[in-house]
Every structure is written in C-alpha cells, then in structure tokens.
C-alpha cells in the first residue's frame, strides 16, 4: 500500500507555509487534527512575534525597553533564540538592528509588493565588503529571567525576531509531527525534514537569478534554510536597499553573496548559518557552511557547494544531522 502524503498550506510569515505529512492510510481524522494544531500554533507564534502588528506582544516588549516585562512562553522562547543566533554568528545576525532596518526602508510588511529585478540592484550596489559585528553588541545586554518569564531589553533597543522566529516556529511544528512516518515543514526559505522512518526527500535550491533550480539535495532528517536578497530588495532614493543589515555600519550589506543555503540539525540554526554566510561574504561565508554543508550563490550567479554538498558527487544525500 503506497504512502499517502497529505499537504496543508496557508499564508504565514510572509510566505506560503506548507505542512506535508505522510501516512500509510488515506486522509485520517488524526492527520487533519495534527495539521490543524500545527497551523493554530504557528499562527499564535506569528501573532505574538511579528513586528508588523501593532498589538503583538513583541511590539509591547519593544515599547517598554529598559523595563522588566512579563512575557508569554512563546515570546520568551523567541527572545532566547535571538541572542542564541547572535552568539552562533559571532554577532553578525544581530536582532537589535531594527531601527537601522526601518531607516533602510523596511518599516512595514512587504508582503504582496513585487521587488525590482535583483540584477538591477547588483549593478547599482556599492563596492562589496563583508559585514562586521557591531562592537557595542547590544544583544549581549538583553536580560532574560526564564523562571519568572521576565525580559528586560537595554534602553533604546528594539528587537526584530523575523528570521529567528520563523526558524523557531518551524522547529516547533516539526516536534509536533515528528512521530509520523515522514514529514516536511516548508516555510519558504526555512524547511525541516524528518519523520519516524528515515525517508529521503528532494530539496531544490532555487536560483535567485534564474528560473531553474541551482542544485538539488536529498535530505533524510535535517533543516535547510536559505537567506538572500531576491525578494526583500527595494528601491530607496536613487539606489536600492535590502533587509540584511551590516550591524557595524547600520546599512544593507552588499557582500558579493546574493544567496546562502545552510543545512543544520534545526531550522533556527540553519537560518542563522545561512544569514551569517551571506553577511560574511564569499570567503568567510564558506567557513560558516563547511560543518553541515550548504551553498553560496555569488553576485555573478556562480554556485559554490560546501561541506557535505561538495564532498559527494552529483546528487548529494544528507542523512540525519545532529548537533
């Protein structure tokens, strides 16, 4: 009896989120219930952690920087994940650059807004240089009391949990459906693959300058995340801007890498490594992806495979990744 894969998709985190669950039975009530539960949980995470909804809990926390604020379990996890990402990336993936991001032109959601051609922005872009961590490292001064569910942001600091919140949500959803024979959570760039039985699944890495995939990889149990400029680039004044901020300079980073894909045991880690690799530029970015594997695409469109993806010829297979 062939396995049936049930797909449930909905709009969330500014993308079309897909939950794929495979079972040996036709569509069962249990499968429907679990996908519904995942959807409701992810919607709740989005509601609380988005900066685009004035009533979100994150905005309440940001409005009270400098004061201790009691937070929900979801926001607590989100806030804990952000410094974790900053630490993993040596401060490059900095959750405290929200003011700089807004100054660059990303103050409101860009869902539904078509970006200008990436090639145009690359022709305009300033000389390429790797991003640098902010020496002030305000993220180190975020105080979290996990027992009391209390967070205190440094005065004048606001958080943007965008990427890390999505990674965290994908990991949480994966935990909820991990007992199924095979599953995939696909949140646009962030994907988590696994299941009770190790079943390989093809992951296509989209190319930001071409219509066909840049590469395919077969994954059994791991997370894959992609960070890039293609969809979050916009015209700003006489030039262009995008959403990946150089923490030290406070402006969009043009590093020579336009897309980075990372594999890791969790979506939060993969998301962080992908962003770190892009911000690091073509040379240091390779080191970020070496351990678990990944791919860089440079301004020229050239693809560079790294780690596990580079060592296996042709069509690489990545088995269960562990931390």
């Amino acid at each position: 009896m062939p396995a049936t894969e049930h797909e449930h998709s909905f709009e969330l985190f500014g993308t079309r989120l897909r939950v794929l669950v495979s079972s040996a039975m036709p569509l069962t009530l249990a499968t429907q219930l679990i996908t519904r539960r995942v959807k409701h949980r992810l919607q709740a995470i989005h509601r609380e952690l988005t900066r685009f909804e004035p009533s979100s809990e994150l905005n309440h926390l940001n409005a009270h920087a400098g004061e201790p604020v009691r937070v929900s379990e979801t926001l607590l996890e989100g806030v804990q994940g952000a410094p974790q990402a900053a630490r993993l990336s040596d401060g490059l993936v900095d959750p405290t650059v929200l003011s700089e991001l807004e100054r660059a032109g990303y103050a409101t959601s860009r869902v539904g807004i078509s970006p200008p051609p990436l090639a145009d922005s690359l022709r305009w872009a300033p000389p390429r240089s790797p991003a640098v961590p902010d020496p002030a490292a305000e993220w180190k001064r975020i105080h979290v009391d996990a027992d009391e569910h209390v967070v205190r942001l440094p005065r004048g600091v606001r958080l943007d949990l965008g990427g890390s919140a999505k990674g965290m949500a994908v990991d949480l959803a994966a935990q909820m459906i991990a007992a199924n024979p095979a599953f995939a959570i696909d949140a646009g760039g962030d994907i988590r693959i696994g299941g009770a039985y190790a079943t390989p699944r093809t992951v296509e890495i989209a190319h930001p300058l071409r219509d066909q995939p840049a590469h395919n990889v077969t994954v059994t149990a791991a997370a894959v995340a992609t960070s890039g400029l293609r969809t979050r680039v916009w015209r700003a004044g006489d030039g262009f801007a995008h959403h990946l901020i150089d923490p030290a300079r406070g402006v969009p980073a043009w590093t020579g890498v336009i897309q980075a894909t990372a594999l890791a045991p969790t979506a939060l880690e993969a998301e962080t490594l992908a962003k770190m690799a892009l911000l690091s530029g073509p040379l240091a970015g390779r080191a970020a992806l070496e351990r678990h594997g990944g791919a860089l695409i440079l301004d020229s469109g050239k693809l560079i495979l790294l780690g596990e993806l580079d060592t296996r010829p042709g069509y690489p297979t990545v088995d269960r990744l562990t931390a």
Partner: protein, 82 residues
C-alpha cells in the same frame, strides 16, 4: 423416570457457552488485528519505501545534479529566499 427431565435444558446451554465464547474470542482477535493493522502497514510501507528510495538515490549519485529530478516519491520541497 423423572430424573432425565433436568438434563434436557442443560444441553442447549452447553452448546451456547462455546458459541458465545467463540464470538467473544473472534471479536477480541478482530479488535487486536484491527488495532495492529495500520501499524503493520506503516512498518511494511516504510521498509519497502526505504529500499526503493535508497536504490533511486544511488542511481542518481552517478548522474550530475539536474533541475527537476526527484529522488523519492515524497513531494519535493524548494528552499528559496522568502
């Protein structure tokens, strides 16, 4: 004379008992099989799928990566900038 009379009703009762026993037993076995069947299918399916996909992936190892090929019967996913 009258000593045989009580034995008559006991005969159908004796026949009924094994019958009810068999019914209960059958229902019990059916319940166990019904509960076990989905799990056995999952297991058999996973095993057969694993063998099939390992072969497919091995074959693809000899081919250079090309766009649009699926290594397994599971729905492919695409990672992209979002």
């Amino acid at each position: 004379m009258t000593e045989q009379a009580p034995s008559k009703p006991t005969a159908p009762a004796a026949r009924q008992r094994p019958s009810r026993y068999r019914t209960v037993l059958s229902l019990g076995i059916a319940a166990i099989v019904a509960a076990w069947l989905p799990f056995s299918m999952l297991y058999i399916n996973a095993l057969s799928k694993r063998v099939a996909t390992v072969n497919a992936t091995s074959t693809l190892h000899t081919v250079s990566a090309t766009a649009g090929h699926s290594a397994t019967t599971l729905t492919p996913v695409t990672t992209r900038t979002s």
